[in-house]
């Protein structure tokens, strides 16, 4: 794996009045890496991720995403990242094809590229029979896979996934992770938050946030060793127990 850095933060902080949601986090993410971003509910994961995507302006600190400054170049960042939120956010009243066309179009793909991409994507997801159906008619697992595929339709450098597999059955989750590996193989950096600790094992490196701070950051094996735990569950509990904030 190359050591090119695609995300670098330095004491990145977000305050809401006197509540510090994200407290001076500093970390690097390398190109092509699958970076797991863990933490209990309310630890500040989503806020941190929203800052990196240019959806939320940091209070202080520094962050570079895909080579651009989050304060000064949010538009350049947006052209180079993909984002999949917790809440399913494709248009339910558009068909599978129309959603792909729309997002391809607003990312500036040519008509030819859009056509190729949607063919490729429908093929990869096995959605031949559903291509012209409304997205609202798809089961949740399929929606999530489609959502992910649309988030990387413009071949971004980094894709941010906020709990992408919430509410999805284990078999579907496995298939979802296959898509993630595929994307990582193509050189797309994956930045993913999850509550499933077995999924943390699939990541190259994992950070664990507690009360707005990053308490641990290493490969899954590294973390198990440091915390002398047999699996990620134990690592997580040992760290999360220290949390003072109540989950929201």
């Amino acid at each position: 794996m190359s050591k090119e850095i695609v995300i670098r933060t330095n004491k990145l902080t977000k305050r809401f009045d006197d509540f510090v949601a994200v407290d001076e986090i500093t970390f690097d993410v390398h190109k092509g890496e699958i970076f797991g971003f863990l933490g209990a509910n309310g630890a500040g994961k989503t806020t941190a991720m929203r800052m990196l995507c240019g959806l939320s302006i940091p209070t202080s600190g520094e962050a570079m995403v895909a080579g651009y400054d989050v304060f000064k170049q949010p538009d350049e960042i947006k052209q180079n990242i993909g984002y999949m939120s917790q809440k399913f956010s494709l248009y339910e009243d558009l068909s599978v094809k129309e959603n792909i066309e729309f997002y391809g179009g607003i990312y500036g793909l040519s008509n030819k590229q859009i056509k190729e991409k949607s063919g490729e994507l429908i093929e990869r997801l096995g959605l031949h029979n559903e291509a012209d159906k409304l997205v609202s008619s798809l089961p949740l697992g399929w929606k999530q896979k489609l959502s992910f595929s649309v988030a990387i339709v413009h071949q971004p450098k980094i894709v941010f996934l906020d709990e992408p597999t919430g509410g999805v059955d284990p078999a579907m989750r496995r298939q979802f992770w296959d898509l993630i590996y595929d994307a990582a193989d193509k050189g797309i950096t994956i930045f993913v938050t999850t509550h499933y600790l077995d999924e943390a094992e699939y990541c190259n490196r994992v950070s664990i946030m507690v009360d707005g701070k990053i308490e641990a950051l290493d490969s899954p094996e590294g973390l198990r060793k440091t915390f002398s735990a047999s699996n990620m569950d134990e690592v997580f509990y040992k760290l999360a127990r220290k949390a003072k904030r109540s989950a929201d």
Binding site: I81, Y83, L94, G105, Y107
Partner: protein, 372 residues
């Protein structure tokens, strides 16, 4: 600008996929244009009148017949007793009581002077005052006729009378719907085109799709234009349909240039879409947007001169109505459609609505944020 094309394409696709859309576009306006002018009819008919006749003379009979045959009044009761008529007012069965005192005819002939009493039930103020007006008119008319009959041949009339001959300009027969229909069309455009833009954006917030849009490199102005342009199209369709409909059903053909109407409609839509947009930036849910809209629509409808003339409102209220684009549009519609005014006559209207639109849109764009 390529992104704009995709935004608009998406918007139109969603519109036509919405099953209620064609209904809202054509059926709702049709129903409103048929029903509202009927309900908003200023000609008051069926005024219930009770006649208390203590005289039972030819004159009291003749006058009663004249009143009842006018078509405005319905006889609630014809009685000898004041108390009975009073009870009718109390029970809301009579709007007016006309009382002929005993000796009415005799006194009239002998003393050339007689009083007649009218009591008015003022619970429904409009009906009462208009009914009183009609009744006074009929009595005055009858009075004049009597006088002409009784003037002795050869003697000159000692009492000069002034006869008022009135003519109504632009709407000679005072047909209420010629006045109401163009104004109701304005209210429709406001509701269908202007305010649904607000709901559209708030819906994206509610569904979470706006967040997905916010992580794309789409520019603020592209997103907003992508929302506004499709609604300009919707407005054009509803307006054209409404004009056609009022021509077919009511025979109302704009006297003025139709292009002037369309020009003003676009200036108006610019302002009202800006207003919708502004509300959407302050609302998180459709429920919130709905309650804000409801409040404003009420005020717009009541204060824009749609039902009651702006000139009869107190000064401070008139100032407020000048802030509503809708009151300008109603004025322009009536001027162009009924009077045939041209662009020169409405130039100040265009200027003011454009300025209001500029303020609203700038405010909305500044307040719409892609980031928090």
């Amino acid at each position: 600008m390529r992104a704009l094309r995709f935004l608009m394409q998406k918007e139109f696709r969603q519109m036509f996929r919405d099953k209620g859309f064609t209904g809202r576009l054509f059926i709702a306006p049709a129903i409103q244009l048929i029903l509202l002018p009927m309900a908003a009819n200023y000609t008051i008919k069926n005024i219930n009148i009770a006649i208390v006749d203590h005289d039972h003379s030819t004159v009291s009979q003749q006058l009663s017949n004249k009143i009842l045959s006018s078509g405005y009044f319905k006889l609630a009761d014809y009685t000898d007793f004041n108390s009975k008529a009073g009870a009718l007012i109390e029970n809301d069965k009579a709007d007016l009581v006309l009382e002929f005192p005993s000796g009415f005819e005799k006194n009239m002939i002998r003393e050339n002077n007689q009083k007649i009493a009218i009591q008015v039930n003022a619970i429904n103020g409009v009906k009462a005052s208009i009914g009183f007006g009609y009744l006074s008119g009929i009595i005055a008319d009858y009075n004049n006729n009597l006088r002409l009959q009784w003037i002795q041949p050869g003697r000159t009339n000692t009492m000069p009378t002034i006869d008022v001959v009135s003519s109504y300009w632009y709407n000679p027969s005072l047909t209420y719907y010629i006045y109401m229909v163009p104004a109701i069309l304005v209210s429709l455009i406001t509701g269908i085109a202007g305010l649904s833009a607000a709901f559209n954006i708030v819906k994206e917030k509610e569904m979470g799709t706006i967040e997905q849009i916010n992580v794309t490199p789409i520019k603020k102005y592209e997103f907003i234009l992508g929302k506004l342009i499709p609604f300009l199209a919707v407005g054009t369709v509803v307006f054209s349909f409404g004009l056609l409909f009022s021509w077919v059903i009511y025979g109302i053909k704009p006297l003025g240039n139709i292009a002037v109407l369309y020009l003003f409609m676009y200036v108006f839509l610019f302002a009202i879409l800006g207003f919708g947009l502004l509300i959407s930036t302050y609302s998180q849910t459709q429920q919130q947007a709905n309650s804000i809209m409801f409040l404003f629509m009420m005020v717009f409808n009541m204060m824009s001169g749609l039902y009651t003339p702006i000139d009869s409102m107190p000064g401070w209220a008139q100032v407020i109505t000048h802030l509503f684009p809708i009151s300008y549009f109603i004025d322009v519609m009536r001027m162009v459609v009924i009077k045939g005014s041209g662009i020169h006559d409405i130039r100040m209207h265009i200027l003011f609505v454009f300025l209001i639109g500029l303020v609203l849109n700038t405010w909305a764009v500044l307040n719409y944020r892609k980031t928090t």
